[in-house]
Amino acid sequence: MNKAEMDSKQKNAFNDFQNIPPRNPQAAARGRANFLKQAAVLRQPVSREANRRQNWVSSTIFPLFQRKERFPMLNSLIAVVLAVVVLFGGSGATVAAAQGSLPDQALYPVKTWSEDAVLSLTGPTQTRLQYVLDFSDRRVLEMTRLLADGKSIPAGVETRLQNELDLVLELAAGMNDTQALQQLQMIIQRADAQYQTMTILMSGAPQSDGPLLLRAHTRLQEQLQMGAMGESDMSGFRLQVRQRFQYRGGTGGTPMPGLGGNSNGYGPGMNQPTITPGTNQPVQMPGVNQMTATPVLKCTSTPMMNCTGTPMPYRTPGSGGGYGHMP
């Protein structure tokens, strides 16, 4: 049987579906009226704040120079770093000094280590998400400063940015609907600014950094799409995030330290409450067995997963300033 015959056979199999009863005109008119009524309710004057958000300059140029505004959580971070300074004296001073370092500098591993440490010590999911958002801004700023200095961007910076972008989605997906929506707005806002910055960087970057910047650019675009999806369809968003999470868990992608949702880490992974699809209600998953809460996903269709129902280890605490690796 040739391809055309096969295609025709498959189409014939679905032919019966073409005959459906006509739509009830009254129901259609009612649906239309409700839709327009809802639109009228939602229609509100555009606020000055919203106008400002849409301003291209304010979302691209300002983030590069208004660092204080862009990293609202850094006050807390500085407090933690200062606490380390008090506790450990000279070592703490090194940590504090490392906060402004760039990836090509000797203190940079200390900076990333301190970020990992801060996340490990932070309990509330919302706070951790805020930290990771700030850290992702740091990565973009590092790329900007490196290029401004005429230096090449190490691949590790982009990898770390990708992991941070993944992580904020995972953290948001583990929250209840109200919290998740609030956080998604913030995620989108940050990703939007980062995306615009990346667009600028791509236009003036040397050819050797092109592929790396393109990857980051594409990933940020995806982040915006995921955020938009979450705002319009929270269940679908959670499912997508979970699929990404499970896929990466089995492939040994680039893990971050302490992201396993355990005492070390971030991520809705193992011990965070998750949402039963379709119910929009957070439920505590028993132990580490999160897969069973996703009826659509099956072991047979996801070969990367452990088919006993136990997710494969996802992230492990890394050593030094880098991210850990799958066992």
Binding site: K9, Q10, K11, A13, F14, D16, F17, Q18, I20, P21, R23, N24, A27, A28, G31, R32, N34, F35, L36, Q38, A39, A40, L42, R43, A50, R53, Q54, Q185, I188, L224, Q225, G227, A228, E231, S232, D233, S235, G236, L239, P277, G278, T279, P295, V296, L297, S301
Partner: protein, 183 residues
Amino acid sequence: MDNHVPSDTDLLDLARQFDQQALAQIYDTYSPGLYRYSMRRLSDQDVAEDCVAETFSRFLQALKARRGPESFLQAFLYRIAHNWIVDHYRRAPQQPQELTEEHPDENSDPVKDAGHHMQQERLRKAIRELTPDQQQVISLKYLEGWENEDIARSLMKPVGAVKSLQHRALASLEKMLDREEIL
């Protein structure tokens, strides 16, 4: 007389300002197709109407959050509808349909109709067993007659991935239906 038909982009520009005329045009353009799509997937008129209503409601919410589509509105709307249908089946396992005394058409053959209905239900059930992405590919390709490029936009995946999903979905369907007469 101006016969200019506004493009998706023009309509969306107006829709973002909650222009009633543009929104009405969007509803009139896409709701009949969305209804047919929902009916084919759900086989229940009331539930299909719910699906259409929720799809457009979510569309408005996306506009409100300034995160609606820039273009390819149809792909965006069908993606929402598909997600709603997947959620619907997860929320509520299918209830058996009630039998009624009345028959819609005097000339029709009840035995033949029942056969068709059973075949449809069997195929519909098999489609529901596929992964969400596979379901959407099969529905848009074979029930709605979309091209792979349009399906790719709806799924936000490359065309190659769509072809791969289609291939795997058909193989799974064939297996589920025991290689009998349907496929």
